[in-house]
Subunit: 117 residues, 2 copies
Amino acid sequence: MVLEIKPTQALRLWREVHLDLVRDTQADLSVRQTAILLTIYLELPPHTVRGLAARLGVTKPVITRALDSMGKLGLVSRKRDELDKRNVVIQRTVAGALAVEHLADLVTARARELGPA
Amino acid sequence: MVLEIKPTQALRLWREVHLDLVRDTQADLSVRQTAILLTIYLELPPHTVRGLAARLGVTKPVITRALDSMGKLGLVSRKRDELDKRNVVIQRTVAGALAVEHLADLVTARARELGPA
DNA sequence: CCCGATCGTTACGGGTCCGTATCATTATCG
DNA sequence: CGATAATGATACGGACCCGTAACGATCGGG
């Protein structure tokens, strides 16, 4: 099943959802943080700092800081890997799953409202 | 024509495009700036600082600063309204139109790659 | 056992963005 | 006119994020 979407529709969808995100006082995640959050919640665990950095093409401190701020928001949590104590395993949280679900609702709702191109 | 998209597809689409944006050194626009840019290029002119601020639900300095930085990137330009010299009319640019088009390409391409939910 | 490699974190200097409050300029209306 | 309103820009203090470089902790091979 292929999702057919025309350029004009794509732009309107992108705009509407971004307007929602701006107005929603809750979600002030940056583009990088959003990419990290969705990677954690959509790809199979385990997730590590190094792995995410490579996946996104950014440096490790970027991941560490993003995990700090998203951890403060309760969207993710960290745990030391007991087998190899150098590693840190990034874990999902209930609040994080809810936030991801909320984003999915936003996108699908706006997509449904799109008229013809 | 309604765009049917399932939650899982929406999230994967969102993630893929965000990964592209992160990797693309070019586009480091914030969520707010993206919303402003798309509003300028998708809604009918004329656009003013005050109008955009009301449209997005943010304060005027947010718009002024966003126009400053996006102007530096050549994505928009400003012109004083000659009829009412208090107003500033925001104008589109070639570079801005190209950036918007590029975003549309990104979204449509990623949408086309989406498998079944 | 020890030394190099690996992992995540932190320090640093610089840049950007935010909201509130204030400002200069211009228009409007009595 | 002069007072008031409206528009966009700016100052300020604080918060966040970036990349580079360095660091402590841990593992693993010789």
